[in-house]
């Protein structure tokens, strides 16, 4: 009983703001500023969302976000898939250390990296480029993605690969014909996870770009530097939250088995 109460409170704590943003985003501008504001928007309208999308720079920022996310997925998968496979399949000296080491990188405060990173990127000509942002996002996501991918590959029985090899496959063929097709849904989940991480990342994106801002960076800039109006903020928030919500719902099964242990 107490557990349920706690769970409900927690859920409400997390979900209420999201619900309020969602409702505000489909409320018309006049209603948004009226007091008292009706809880349920009358009528439901896309006017605010459309206004947001018409603002200068929004569509470009959205495009930038997508480009950065795509590049991040590409890089993170290319790096994490082999690493995850190795962690899942091979027993080598220092395996545990690598696994733990991956997590400890997340303990390092990104803020401390900000200035050196900006300087380095200026030197390398990566400052204010989408590739630069994607590189940072890749670095941020790789530790998690490696662990997810490892858990996905662990889910594919070794005996399947061995059976394929005993039937004439090389190790690579066995991976290609048996392991990969079976791991595909899990790998897709990992890619989606990377997408969300990149889509919502604001710190590095704000810091390392001026003209090529991703959506979160663009929003932060609009709100902080230019004091964007309330309805603009709601609509922007809505666009930021939407993909994450949809996607988390789709991949929660893989998140729950992240370390090979199913949490129920």
């Amino acid at each position: 009983m107490a557990t349920y109460a706690a769970a409900l409170t927690l859920s409400a704590w997390v979900l209420a703001p999201i619900a309020l943003i969602g409702l505000a985003a489909v409320t018309s501008r006049e209603q948004l500023y009226r007091w008292p504001r009706p809880f349920w928007p009358q009528p439901v309208t896309v006017e605010t969302l459309a206004f947001f999308l018409r603002q200068e720079g929004v569509v470009r920022a959205l495009g930038n976000s997508l480009a950065v996310a795509a590049l991040t997925i590409l890089l993170a998968t290319a790096l994490s898939a082999p690493a995850g496979y190795a962690l899942a399949r091979y027993r080598f000296r220092g395996r545990e250390t690598v696994q733990l080491g991956l997590l400890t990188t997340k303990m390092f405060p990104a803020t401390a990296l900000a200035v050196p990173l900006a300087v380095a990127f200026l030197r390398w000509g990566l400052y204010d480029t989408l590739v630069g942002v994607a590189l940072v996002h890749t670095a941020l996501s790789v530790p998690f993605v490696v662990l997810i991918v490892a858990s996905v590959f662990r889910g594919v029985s070794v005996e399947l690969e061995e059976a394929a090899m005993s039937l004439g496959c090389s190790r690579l063929q066995a991976f290609w014909k048996v392991t990969l097709p079976m791991a595909l849904p899990g790998l897709a989940a990992a890619a989606i996870f990377t997408f969300i991480l990149s889509w919502n990342e604001v710190f590095a994106a704000t810091l390392l770009t001026v003209n090529h801002r991703t959506l979160p960076a663009f929003l932060v800039h609009s709100v902080v530097a230019e004091g964007a109006p309330l309805h603009f903020r709601y609509a922007g928030g809505f666009f930021l939250v939407l993909p994450a919500l949809v996607i988390i719902f789709l991949i929660r099964r893989y998140l729950l088995t992240l370390w090979g242990v199913t949490v129920r």
Partner: protein
């Protein structure tokens, strides 16, 4: 078809020695079972034959070819896994045809051979299904079909029946025997189930702690276990063991068990000559112990009726003996009964090394005296 020869195979995992200098020969068309408790190294031996594990020492020969370092796919072996390892994303047909595809067999020939092997295993009606839609027994058949369809030189099976329930296991055991008779493939089969080993194997290699303890026909292993371990591991209930002292009277050795006196079997005369007044271990199967007559006395503690027979637990001289008697025998728990250990049923072992004393027989057995071929 081909023979398998293992030459002083050695394998370690970290500091643990999994397989210690195992040498073994499986003749062309022979069905050999590797039997032993879990962790005895039997599966590791099989995996080294399959090429899934590289030995630290020794060689594997298949059909006169040294395959020790060859990739699994190039050894021409068919393997059946304990978990069946069917590819879940492929239909039964594609599962069975997988090995043929990897070998570049033309499509028409693939279909013909899959049909042929499906008939043999009675899975013709399942070819369009996915593995998830099959029962355990059906999966088992598909796994065997997939291994057989490539017509491998040797067939390797790793506990293929352990995931089936008792009734299915018995059915499939008989089926595997039929299959072996029809296909005649050289087979190496791993199990921890002694009943399976006895019923399937032309010869059985009993393994313990990475070594082959005894390699012989099931009957010989049952009747003449090379060590106390083998006697206790094979047979249900296991062999009984009682300490005895060797006595000599002129040219006749006899065994003193407690105060009782038993004739020593002839074949041990030589071995007992050096053991005058020393202790030996008497091993005797439950069905050889005679109840109702004899110089020993025991108290019946437990009676278990097992159909046509019943199993008694009898305490004598502080030891518990298992004795099987006919269900009609009128003994009740609490009865005090006389016991006899007939000469023909007695096996003698060294109490310290736990090795059988009739070494000459064992030496012949390990080097592999010919067993009956199917």
């Amino acid at each position: 078809m081909a023979e398998i020869r293992l030459e002083r195979l050695h394998k370690r995992f970290g500091r643990v020695v999994a397989v210690r200098e195992v040498s073994l020969e499986v003749r062309d068309g022979e069905f050999v079972v590797l039997l032993g408790p879990s962790g005895c190294g039997k599966t590791t031996v099989l995996r080294m034959v399959a090429g899934l594990e590289v030995p630290d020492g020794g060689r594997v020969w298949i059909g006169g070819r040294d395959v020790t370092r060859l990739a699994p796919g190039r050894r021409d072996v068919g393997m059946v896994f304990q978990s069946y390892a069917l590819f879940p994303h492929m239909r039964v047909f594609d599962n069975v045809a997988f090995g043929l595809r990897m070998r570049g067999v033309p499509r028409a020939e693939q279909v013909r051979r899959v049909r042929e092997v499906s008939e043999l295993l009675q899975i013709e009606d399942l070819l369009d299904r996915y593995p998830a839609q099959l029962s355990g027994g059906q999966r088992q058949r598909v796994a065997v079909a997939r291994a057989l369809v490539i017509r491998p030189q040797v067939l390797l099976m790793d506990e293929p029946l352990s995931n089936l329930d008792a009734l299915l296991r018995m059915q499939f055991r008989a089926e595997l025997k039929r299959l072996h008779r029809e296909v005649g493939s050289t087979t190496l089969y791993v199990t921890h189930d002694q009943v399976e080993a006895m019923s399937l194997g032309d010869r059985v290699a009993v393994m313990r702690e990475g070594e082959v303890v005894q390699f012989d026909t099931p009957a010989n292993i049952y009747e003449h276990p090379a060590t106390r371990f083998v006697g206790a591991f094979l047979g249900n209930p296991p062999m009984n063991f009682l300490p005895a002292v060797v006595r000599w009277e002129g040219h006749e050795p006899w065994l003193q068990v407690g105060e009782a006196r038993f004739a020593a079997p002839r074949e041990y005369c030589q071995a007992l000559r050096e053991r005058r007044d020393e202790e030996v271990l008497v091993g005797i199967r439950p069905e050889h112990v005679v109840l109702g007559t004899g110089p020993l006395e025991g108290e019946v503690l437990v009676e278990e009726v097992l159909g046509p027979q019943k199993l008694l637990t009898v305490r004598t001289l502080g030891h518990l003996l298992k004795v099987t008697v006919s269900s009609q025998a009128s003994v009740r728990p609490g009865d005090r009964v006389p016991l006899d250990l007939p000469e023909a049923g007695i096996r003698l072992m060294d109490p310290r090394t736990e090795q059988a004393l009739d070494r000459s027989r064992n030496r012949a057995a390990v080097s592999g005296n010919p067993g009956p071929l199917v």
